[in-house]
């Protein structure tokens, strides 16, 4: 029961973060919000008894991808002013 409540709360936060990523005015905030979506997705995978997928999602989805977005953003800003 408590798992279901936790999953519903996490799902709501995830959806609101996804909407925030779509509507955010600043790109940096949008990238961070999409990173949080991945982080919560990894917790939900764990609740769904898929720890293998959860590990990949936490390391790649929320760790590496977010930072690669920041690297690319920094590069674009510098050459495109």
């Amino acid at each position: 029961m408590i798992t279901i409540i936790l999953a519903i709360v996490l799902g709501l936060v995830m959806i609101s973060m996804a909407i925030a990523a779509l509507t955010a005015y600043r790109v940096r905030a949008a990238v961070l919000a999409s990173g949080i979506v991945s982080l919560i997705a990894s917790i939900i995978y764990l609740l769904l008894a898929a720890p293998d997928v959860a590990m990949t999602e936490a390391a790649i989805g929320s760790g590496l991808t977010t930072i690669i977005f920041f690297y690319v953003l920094n590069k674009i800003r510098r050459s495109d002013v």
Partner: protein, 232 residues
Amino acid sequence: MYKNMFIILLLAGFGLLLGSFLLTHHEYLSLPQLPAYYADNTAPEVGAANVVTAVVVTYRGFDTLGEVTILFVAASLIAMFLKHSKAPRHDRHPRPSSVILSTSQKLLFPLIVLFGAYVFANGHLTPGGGFQGGAIIATGFLLLLMANPQAEFKHGLLNAIESISGTSYVIIGILGAILGLGFLDNRFISLGQLGTLFSAGAIPVIYSLIGLKVGAELSNILHHLNEVQNEE
């Protein structure tokens, strides 16, 4: 106007799809045929305690080879496009990272790399495996790069690890075809006792090689991206 109509139609379509799925969804009381086969036969046939690893490395080993190849091609293309120019670079003077970040990096970096190695070496026993372990190692290197952006990795070492482990992976696959039952078969090394570290035949070897390869590739990509930040 048309755009909004299109969005509403798209959402309605998604709602219809998911709704029909929810209405017809019912819980299986017993496993369907294919999962039941894997659940029953993994331990005697492959000797791996983790069924997911058994499926990924042996039953569907060829797919894993394809995934590793895709990752290799992606890393090579990134290395090609982000080639570090030999021209004297404008030295970037990034803000020195905060004390919290640099201190915790010194503490956490070895632990993260150790945890990644643990995950890929125990891939046949506990959740995780080569890809997960490699990605965890790469996040360790990411932390290192964030704490000191001027850090230099040894490209030659990373490339050597990557190519040696990739070649050994294919060689082990061919050995499985010669000594075992087929390409990437794990049973040419004795299966050992279920649940111990040295069990499941060639699975720990293959997954350790994949882990090293993925870790080196992702770290290389990150280092290339970090290097071109210095150029104008």
